[in-house]
């Protein structure tokens, strides 16, 4: 029971983290029609910035806030110098150009911070276990991640659906020429959206940093999970990304936790322990394959044109 609740919360936490990453990716794709592989690099930069600033200021929160600002600025600079020129080009061009950016970021990080990973220690008040149910404790930090991610998801929803900027963003997604003709500075809007996406990726990275080590290439594996999520959820749909992210986070975590035991009841011990790691890492891809067979456009495709 304890294990089930704990793994369930772990799955939720991982899913919400994936949502932050996938939301930025799907936002940028939905609005600018840009495939950004370097999104994982922004996630990595968020973690590196946080580790550096936290060590520098001595405060976790201050470091995290500064890192958030830094990834926002980095995203804006990146958009203005390089990615802006890719709008309207072939998707293949996006893939290649941003693939080049990944190489650049990984190498730049190695040059600046060295090949060894960094650690981002948590302050004492975030490491205490919190009782959530009678007799069941859960780390405060993971609860904090869940709370922050849910808050961001809510703000994102309200921001996109209820504010003027959000209205412009949605209008830009459905017809960019028209809102340009109506006198909206579409270039600025795109830069802002990209910055927002970058900040979301940075937030995911810096929140994940204390749990895993901060290292080169940390953004690449999780980026692929984010791709799986937006394929399942439907490209350009934030609601789809949210549901698919939670789903994928749960399946991945619960699969890794419980699949070995389940297999052991069916197969012999040796066969189960060989098959389990491979099978549990395949689970989400099998899920994606099944979704594709049933709904090639994803579960919640954004209504476009």
């Amino acid at each position: 029971m304890l294990l089930v609740v704990e793994q369930f919360l772990n799955g939720l936490q991982f899913g919400l983290l994936l949502f932050l990453l996938a939301a930025g990716l799907t936002l940028v794709f939905g609005i600018m029609d840009l495939v950004n592989l370097a999104h994982g690099s922004l996630y990595m930069m968020g973690a590196y910035f946080a580790a550096t600033f936290a060590a520098w200021t001595g405060s976790f929160l201050l470091g995290a806030l500064m890192a958030l600002g830094a990834t926002l600025v980095l995203g804006i600079v990146l958009e203005m110098t390089a990615l802006r020129h890719l709008y309207g080009r072939d998707h293949l061009d996006h893939v290649l150009a941003t693939f080049g950016l990944i190489l650049f970021f990984n190498e730049a990080v190695r040059l600046i911070w060295g090949p060894a990973g960094l650690a981002l220690p948590l302050p004492a008040w975030l490491t205490v276990p919190v009782p959530i149910l009678p007799g069941i404790h859960y780390p405060a930090y993971r609860l904090a991640i869940i709370a922050v991610a849910l808050l961001v998801a809510l703000l994102l929803y309200l921001g996109v659906m209820r504010t003027r900027i959000g209205m412009l963003i949605r209008a830009g997604a459905s017809n960019r020429e028209m809102i340009g003709a109506l006198g909206i500075n579409i270039k600025l809007l795109y830069t802002l959206v990209f910055g927002l996406g970058a900040a979301l990726a940075g937030l995911a990275g810096l929140m994940q940093a204390p749990i895993l080590t901060v290292q080169i290439g940390m953004g690449e594996n999780i980026l692929i999970l984010a791709f799986v999520i937006i394929v399942i959820g439907g490209i350009g749909s934030i609601r789809g990304a949210f549901l698919a992210a939670i789903f994928v986070g749960m399946i991945d975590t619960l699969g890794r936790a419980f699949l070995p035991n389940l297999l052991r009841q069916v197969l012999s011990g040796a066969a189960a322990s060989t098959a389990a790691p491979a099978l549990s890492s395949m689970l989400i891809y099998l899920l994606m394959a099944m979704v594709l067979v049933v709904r090639p456009e994803g579960l919640f495709p954004a209504h476009r044109r």
Partner: protein, 314 residues
Amino acid sequence: MKSLSVSKAVTALMLAGLVLLPLYSSLSGNIFILTLFTRIIILALAAASLNLIMGFGGMMSFGHAAYLGIGGYAVGMLAQEGVGSGFIQFPVALAASAIYALVIGALSLRTRGVYFIMITLAFAQMAYYVASGLARYGGDDGLTIYKRSDFSGLVDLSNRTQFYYLCLACLFGVIFLIWRIVNSRFGLVVQGLRSNEQRMQAIGFPAKRYQLVCFVISGTMCGLAGALLANNTDFVSPAVMYWTRSGDLMVMVILGGMGTLFGPVMGAVVFLLLEEFLSQITEYWALIMGPLLLLIVLFGRGGIMGMLGRAGRG
């Protein structure tokens, strides 16, 4: 027609260079260059196979490195189990790649555009994780191949020059095959589907079936490259299917010129020589390579073949 002659001349020079390379290597005693170019030729073969679906078929696969791994693991696993004959290893490598391509293609081709890119990427990553989980065959650390594929006297893979020419022959064979495919009725249908799928379907061609066959042919060819690569390094590990390797292959195709017969070979030669050259100047070669890719995408339309064509036109 002058434009044709410039790119043709450069291609012919490059191919002559590849054929004569072992001669240079043995005369100068530079063994390293032979090893380097064996690798280049194998990856050029992989790039050429990717070009078949990407350049001619319009299917942007971002998971082509999976076949390198599947072909390589077929050789490695059979060698581990005591089956050393290349007459068994290579057909198994090709068949395994074909089956994987059939399954993945059937699923991925339900989608198009950017979905297709992401899905092929995700499936290749799945293959990567499966290979990492193969504890019996080295898992994450990979699998050392103690004896290269044995072709019982026909060709000795441990002989550097013979192995080089085997790889070169495979490359030329595959390019010849691609040339025949592209100019066949089947190839014209696939190219028609790239230009306008709806119209082709309206004429009555079963679009997905043609594309799937093309996808499987390409995957099988790349499986051959995988089997050769494993023999070249005497080692196979999940890292050969890591997604950056798929990206490298895409870069080679684009760099050389998508949808041209010899473009991918040109791309592979230039890309890998550049990588080698930059990594000798600085440890941080990717710092230059990354932005270079960005510039190539922004300004180098049509790749090297395209640029040669423009240069020819003056």
